[in-house]
């Protein structure tokens, strides 16, 4: 009996992802034997060195987990600390948090859609080469990204690691006059985003679907960003305080990122596809119309179409920012007073790439006793590996080089943030 021919497809250092990762696929004949997403980004031990730090330090320290989505870390951490201290931030102070978050969604999604993911669909190694053939498209994308950054700079002080977020609210609330110049810019960003929906919905999408369990936040009347219960399309519906009863993280040998799963069920997907599936009816009318024109339905399960959903969310984020600015009234005080007390607090918000969970235990003086942080990429890691297997099984006759690119494109569907997940990736396809 002859041994089937084995081949390996590998990418030792994945490009156009945030952080360091590799992938490895081993194929024997027509069978995919093994698929690994290897996250070799060195561990940085945030949860360990947060112990002993002050409760007010979490937004500044946890922001440094990720330069792409620092606001997500700041929002989940302050929400958790406020719960531990028995207070809640609402009204305009909370509206400003959602506004800052819109800035991060615009900046991060614009970066991912055009600089990181679109080159895969159009056959370019990067947006820089794409810019030679389609200068207007790349210039508009950069313009939109810049507007997201400007919004973050006005509200948060700077685009990477904002300085204005504090437990209890803000160091200084922006004046109406500071927000007003953003209005024509955000209207322009919304126009560019609408064009992005038209462009991305015209891409060729690989024929692939999976029956995912989709997980997102849920709050009445709101598209999920900064608060809500944790819900899924298979009946999960829990307050954030019960997260640890339903989700576990596992440590696998090939990854410095922990793998999450839903207890007794398995892998799940969070991020744009999940949010759209579970809350499309809560998008603003302009974003909803854009999704309809693009042919997107909440029943969409092709992960490659996440690029279209991200574009729809770009429309929404610009539109939502405009709404918040239009309704903004300067608050009497930039923050509510927070006194530490012994306790536990939980926070979960929607980072651009999916839900980000934080839990802290603090003592009566506000020193952190224990910290747990579960980033979206950890949560999506098992699903990414399952998608890789499924995509390779359907593409066995593809030449290796093309297959490698297809695998990378599959991983990029998730906008994986490897820096986050270790607190990501090399493709390695082996055929036998």
């Amino acid at each position: 009996m002859s041994t089937p021919k084995t081949k390996t497809i590998r990418t030792d250092a994945l490009a156009r992802v945030e952080g360091e990762g590799a992938m490895y696929v081993r194929i024997a004949g027509r069978e995919v034997e093994e698929v690994k997403l290897n996250i070799y980004e060195p561990p940085r031990f945030f949860e360990a060195f947060l112990r002993g730090r002050g409760f007010t330090e979490v937004p500044d320290i946890t922001a440094r987990i990720c330069g792409i989505c620092p606001v997500a870390y700041q929002m989940s951490s302050v929400t958790a600390m406020e719960m531990a201290c028995g207070i809640e931030v609402d009204g305009q102070l909370r509206a400003l948090r959602r506004l800052l978050y819109c800035g991060e969604w615009i900046e991060s999604h614009a970066l991912h859609v055009f600089m990181l993911h679109a080159p895969d669909f159009l056959g370019y190694p990067s947006a820089i080469e794409l810019a030679r053939d389609a200068p207007d498209v790349v210039a508009s994308a950069l313009e939109m990204k810049k507007i997201g950054n400007e919004l973050m700079t006005v509200v948060g002080g700077r685009e990477v690691h904002p300085i204005n977020v504090k437990v209890g609210g803000w160091y200084r609330a922006p004046r109406k006059g500071e927000l007003a110049p953003l209005v024509p810019k955000l209207e322009r960003a919304r126009e560019i985003a609408l064009e992005a929906v038209r462009i991305t919905s015209g891409f060729d999408f690989p024929d692939y679907e999976q029956d995912y369990e989709l997980v997102a936040l849920d709050h009445p009347g709101e598209y999920p960003i900064d608060r809500g219960r944790v819900v899924s399309n298979r009946g999960l519906d829990i307050p954030v305080t019960e997260y640890d009863d339903h989700f576990v993280e596992e440590h696998v040998e090939w990854s410095n990122a922990l793998h999450s799963r839903i207890i007794e069920r398995g892998s799940y997907l969070c991020g744009p596809l999940a949010r759209f599936a579970l809350a499309a009816d809560r998008l603003s009318p302009i974003a909803r119309d854009a999704a309809r024109e693009a042919g997107l339905e909440p029943s969409e399960r092709n992960p490659f179409k996440s690029i279209v959903v991200r574009s729809v969310e770009l429309v929404y984020a610009a539109d939502e920012a405009l709404r918040i600015i239009a309704e903004y009234e300067e608050p009497d005080a930039p923050a509510v007073e927070v006194e530490p007390r012994a306790g536990v607090g939980y926070g979960c918000t929607e980072a651009p790439r999916g839900i980000l969970y934080h839990r802290y235990e603090i003592d009566a003086e506000g020193s952190i006793l224990d910290a747990k942080i579960v980033p979206p990429t950890s949560q999506n890691q098992r699903t990414i590996e399952e998608d890789l297997r499924g995509v390779v099984e359907r593409s066995l006759d593809m030449p290796d080089e093309e297959l490698t690119i297809r695998c990378e494109q599959t991983i990029r569907n998730y906008d994986p943030c490897i820096s986050c997940a270790t607190h990501f990736l090399t493709l390695d396809v082996e055929r036998r």
């Binding site: 940085r44 810049k146 300085i163 204005n164």
Partner: protein
């Protein structure tokens, strides 16, 4: 036609924020790509070219045996090597583990400690190879980054001020938060570069850019104490993003 200079961007242990600062130069990135060959920049492109590179920008600190080897190879392949940000320049926030029992840290975060390979300390790039210029900041300031790239491509020293954040407050006309409001502030000892952001948001500086040249830490520590900061809080604020250089400045 003369060959365009080559630029490479390398990542070690970090949050990606400093290399993102290059992509955040939305108005300049395409013209920069016209002036230099971006030979290695994995966050932006899957196309890579072999060295040597005229200018290497290095983000992140060294925390693994593999990275100790890798930084030597980057140095060998680079005519000029510039570190960008607090991780590459000072070891970063992950240098907090230098004070701790790393085996205990690993078991606090990971269920199977045997799978994890890491050094006991997080060290700056300069602890391993010669560095031609160090750009401070957590994160770096993108205007300063463009100045550094421009300077190296033209063969001159970058014009990066070495004064304190106080100078930047005075220049932008921000009222001193420490004098006027009694807010503890690291501005008097912190390297300029952010543009004195925090005081303009009614907040004290928390030292993202590390110590300035010859800081008077003792005087500031007294003042922080008088404003009601306890010893533990003072230790914490100096031991955040630029742990090692602030510790050195405090013991001088």
């Amino acid at each position: 036609m003369a060959r365009k200079p080559t630029l490479a961007v390398w990542k070690f242990a970090s949050c990606d924020g400093c290399q993102l600062s290059l992509l955040d130069c939305e108005d300049e990135i395409l013209s920069l790509a016209g002036e230099v060959d971006i030979a290695y920049f994995l966050e932006a492109t899957r196309a890579t070219a072999e060295g040597p590179y005229d200018l290497s920008l290095v983000e992140g600190s060294v925390t693994t045996h593999h990275d100790m080897e890798r930084i030597r190879e980057v140095r060998k392949a680079s005519k000029a090597l510039v570190t960008i940000g607090a991780c590459a320049t000072a070891g970063g926030v992950q240098a907090l583990k230098n004070f701790a029992d790393v085996d205990e840290y690993i078991s606090a975060v990971y269920a199977t400690p045997d799978y994890i390979s890491t050094l006991d300390s997080s060290t700056p790039i300069s602890a391993h190879v010669p560095v031609d210029f160090e750009l401070n900041g957590c994160p770096i300031n993108k205007r300063q980054l463009l100045e550094v790239i421009t300077a190296f491509l033209h063969g001159r020293r970058p014009e990066i001020p070495t004064s304190s954040v106080c100078m930047e407050c005075k220049r932008r006309g921000t009222v001193c938060v420490m004098v006027a409001h009694g807010t503890p502030c690291l501005g008097p000892v912190t390297h300029a570069g952010c543009g004195a952001l925090c005081p303009s948001y009614n907040r004290g500086c928390y030292g993202c850019f590390g110590p300035m040249e010859t800081p008077n830490i003792a005087a500031l520590t007294n003042q922080l104490g008088e404003l009601g900061m306890g010893e533990k809080a003072v230790d914490r604020v100096f031991r955040t993003f630029n742990v090692r250089p602030f510790e050195e400045a405090r013991t001088r």
